[in-house]
C-alpha cells in the first residue's frame, strides 16, 4: 500500500515547476477518457456511501443473520447473492463503501495534516530543524508502510479508530516529504521575497503564499494515497486487524468468505471487485491529474 516511488514521482513533478492554472488542468483532464471513467466510478461509490440507507437497510439486510437464506447464488432478490450467514452481499458492499471511503479519507487527512505540517516547517526553515525531522522520517520510512500499520494496530487493538490512526500515521512520512519538496521549490521565488519584504510573517507566508502555489502535486499525491489507504484498510481487515465483524467491510468480507470459495466463489468475487474498482478509480484520477499537470510527460 505504501509507495515511496509515488513520493519520488511527485517530487519530480514538483521539480518541473510547471504550475498550470486550474482551468487548464481541468480542460486537459477532461480529454483523458481513463481519468473520466475513474471520476465516474468514484462518484458512483460516493453516491452509494451517502445514500446507503436508501439503498439497503443496515440492520435488516447487512447485519442480521438469516440462516435459511445462507449461501444463495446471485438472483433477482440478492443481486450478488448471500454470505455464509444469509446476509445480502450487495447490501454489505454498499455499507462497506461508507467504511472504506470514510476511513480512507480520514487517514489521509491525518497524514496530510501532520505530515504536511512537518514537511512545511522542515522545508521552510531548513537547517537543523529540517535535518532532525527528516532523520525521524527516515526511521519511519525504513519500515514498510503496511507493516508499520500492522504493528500499530497490533499494539493499540483492532478498531475503526485505531485503524485510522495506524494507516494515517504510517502515511505521514510520505506526505512530509512531498510537502517539503513542494515548499522547497517555491520558497526562494521572488513572490515569496516580495511577501517577506512587505512584512508578512512566516505563518502567513507559508499558508497564503507557499502552500497554495504547491498545491497541485500534493492533491495528486493525496488522491493516490486515498487509493492505497483503502487497499491498506481492507488488507488489515483481511488479517483480522481492521474493522471487526459483523460490521461490513470489503476486506473482512473476503476473510470470512475465504472458507467457502470452493463452492461459492461469488462470495469473494464481489467484495474483491469493489476494492479493485474503488482503488482503480482513484488511481486513474491521480494518474490523469498528474498528466494534466505535467503534459510533457504522459
Amino acid at each position: 500500500m505504501s509507495n515511496k516511488s509515488e513520493v519520488i514521482a511527485t517530487e519530480n513533478l514538483i521539480k518541473t515547476k510547471k504550475r498550470s492554472q486550474g482551468a487548464d488542468v481541468w480542460r486537459r483532464l477532461k480529454k483523458s477518457p481513463t481519468a473520466m471513467i475513474g471520476l465516474g466510478i468514484i462518484i458512483l461509490f460516493l453516491f452509494m456511501a451517502v445514500f446507503a440507507p436508501m439503498i439497503a437497510d443496515y440492520d435488516d439486510e447487512a447485519i442480521k443473520m438469516n440462516i435459511k437464506e445462507r449461501l444463495q447464488p446471485p438472483s433477482s432478490t440478492h443481486v450478488f447473492g448471500t454470505d455464509e450467514f444469509g446476509r445480502d452481499i450487495f447490501a454489505r458492499i454498499v455499507w462497506g463503501t461508507r467504511i472504506s471511503l470514510f476511513v480512507g479519507l480520514i487517514s489521509v487527512s491525518i497524514a496530510l495534516s501532520i505530515g504536511g505540517f512537518l514537511g512545511a516547517i522542515a522545508g521552510y526553515y531548513g537547517g537543523r530543524l529540517d535535518n532532525a525531522i527528516m532523520r525521524v522520517l527516515d526511521v519511519l520510512l525504513a519500515i514498510p508502510t503496511i507493516l508499520l500499520a500492522i504493528t500499530i494496530v497490533a499494539a493499540l487493538g483492532a478498531s475503526v479508530l485505531n485503524l485510522m490512526i495506524a494507516v494515517g500515521v504510517s502515511n505521514i512520512p510520505g506526505f512530509a516529504r512531498v510537502v517539503r519538496a513542494a515548499v522547497l521549490s517555491v520558497k526562494d521565488e521572488e513572490f515569496i521575497e516580495a511577501a517577506r519584504a512587505i512584512g508578512a510573517n512566516d505563518f502567513i507566508i507559508i499558508t497564503r503564499h507557499v502552500l497554495p502555489n504547491s498545491m497541485a502535486p500534493i492533491i495528486v499525491f493525496a488522491t493516490l494515497k486515498v487509493a492505497s489507504s483503502i487497499m491498506g484498510i481492507s488488507s488489515l481487515s483481511f488479517i483480522g486487524l481492521g474493522v471487526q465483524p459483523p460490521t461490513p467491510e470489503w476486506g473482512g468480507m473476503l476473510a470470512s468468505g475465504r472458507a467457502y470459495i470452493r463452492d461459492y466463489m461469488y462470495i469473494v468475487m464481489f467484495p474483491g471487485l469493489a476494492i479493485v474498482f474503488a482503488v482503480l478509480s482513484l488511481n486513474l484520477i491521480g494518474d490523469g491529474l498528474r498528466d494534466a499537470l505535467d503534459p510533457k510527460l504522459k
Partner: protein, 308 residues
C-alpha cells in the same frame, strides 16, 4: 567503492537503532500483562509478580529497551510467550521461506516488467502500450489477498494444477510468488516505461542516433542503462511493499514465513515474536536498499567517482 559501501552501512546504523526504538515503544503500548498470560488463568497473584520481576517487566520502558538491545546485539530477541521457544530460532526457521518467496516474486517482476516497460515506451501510444498500461494500473489496484484467492479458485480448485496452500516443493511456490509479484510487476513496468520515455527524449539519444547508431542499439546500449537508474530505485522500494505483501500472501497460502508468524503472534498477543518479526522485516528492507545503492554505483559513474 569500498568507502562508499562502508559509508552506506554506517548510515544504516542510526536508522536501524531508530527503528528498534520506535517499534519497541509502539509494541510496549500493548495492553495486557505478559506474566499473567504466560502463567495462565490459575496463577496466583504472587507468582505473577515474581515472574514480572524476573522478566524485568516492572522496570521503566527505557530500561527494558536497553536490556532488549543488549540481547539483540548477541542475537537474543527473547522468548515467545506462547511457545517458550526463542524468538531467534523461530525466525531463523521461518526466514528462508519468506526469503525464497519474496526473492522469486521480485525476480519474476523484474523479468516481466523491464521488457514490457521498454517496449511500451518505444511504441508509445500504440495498442500494446495502451493496453499494457491499463493492465498495469489494474494490477496495482488489485489487493494481493484477493488475487491470491482468485488464483486458488482457478488453478488449484478448478484446474487442480497447483496446491492451494502449504509449502511442499517448488510447485507450491508458484501461485504465491505470482500473487506477490503482480503489484510490483505493474509498478516497475510503469516506472521503466516513464523513465525510458524521459531518457529517449534526452539530447544524448539524438547524439547517438546522429552517429548512425541503429535504433535497437540506441535503446539497448544508450537508453536502457540510463533508464534503469530510476527503475532500480523503484525495484528497491517495491521490495519493501513486497515484504508487506508477504504478510497477506503468506496468510492466504498458509506459507510458513515470517509474515504469517507475525500475524499469528499478533493474534496470540505474543509481543516478543511480533517485535522480532517487525525488526527483521525492517532490517531486510534496509539491507535491500543497501544492495540497491551499491548497484547504483555500478551503473552510474557519477556516484562511483564521487567516492574513489
Amino acid at each position: 567503492m569500498t568507502r562508499y559501501i562502508l559509508r552506506r552501512i554506517f548510515m544504516m546504523i542510526p536508522v536501524m537503532l531508530g527503528v528498534t526504538l520506535l517499534v519497541f515503544f509502539i509494541i510496549s503500548l500493548t495492553p495486557g500483562d505478559a506474566a499473567s498470560m504466560i502463567l495462565g488463568q490459575e496463577a496466583t497473584e504472587e507468582s505473577i509478580q515474581e515472574l514480572r520481576e524476573e522478566m524485568g517487566l516492572n522496570d521503566p520502558t527505557a530500561v527494558q529497551y536497553v536490556r532488549y538491545m543488549g540481547g539483540l546485539f548477541q542475537g537474543d530477541m527473547g522468548r515467545s510467550y506462547a511457545t517458550g521457544k526463542t524468538v531467534s530460532s523461530e525466525i531463523a526457521q521461518r526466514f528462508p521461506n519468506t526469503f525464497v518467496l519474496t526473492v522469486s516474486a521480485i525476480f519474476l517482476s523484474v523479468l516481466i516488467s523491464i521488457p514490457i516497460g521498454v517496449v511500451s515506451a518505444t511504441k508509445q501510444y500504440s495498442i500494446f502500450d495502451n493496453v499494457g498500461m491499463i493492465i498495469a494500473l489494474v494490477g496495482i489496484s488489485m489487493p494481493s489477498f484477493w488475487t491470491g484467492l482468485l488464483l486458488i479458485i482457478a488453478f488449484s480448485l478448478t484446474l487442480g494444477w497447483f496446491p492451494s496452500g502449504g509449502m511442499e516443493g517448488f510447485i507450491s511456490l508458484i501461485l504465491p510468488a505470482f500473487t506477490l509479484a503482480i503489484a510490483s510487476t505493474a509498478s516497475i513496468t510503469r516506472t521503466t516505461r516513464s523513465s525510458m520515455l524521459e531518457v529517449i527524449r534526452q539530447d544524448y539519444i539524438n547524439t547517438a542516433k546522429a552517429k548512425g547508431v541503429s535504433k535497437n542499439v540506441v535503446i539497448r546500449k544508450h537508453a536502457l542503462k540510463n533508464a534503469l537508474i530510476p527503475a532500480i530505485t523503484v525495484i528497491g522500494l517495491e521490495f519493501g511493499i513486497l515484504l508487506g505483501g508477504a504478510v497477506l500472501t503468506e496468510t492466504v497460502f498458509s506459507w510458513p514465513g515470517i509474515g504469517r508468524l507475525m500475524v499469528e503472534s499478533i493474534q496470540r498477543k505474543d509481543t516478543p515474536m511480533v517485535l522480532g518479526s517487525v525488526i527483521v522485516f525492517a532490517l531486510a528492507f534496509s539491507v535491500v536498499n543497501l544492495i540497491i545503492d551499491i548497484l547504483y554505483a555500478f551503473i552510474d559513474p557519477r556516484i562511483k567517482s564521487n567516492y574513489s
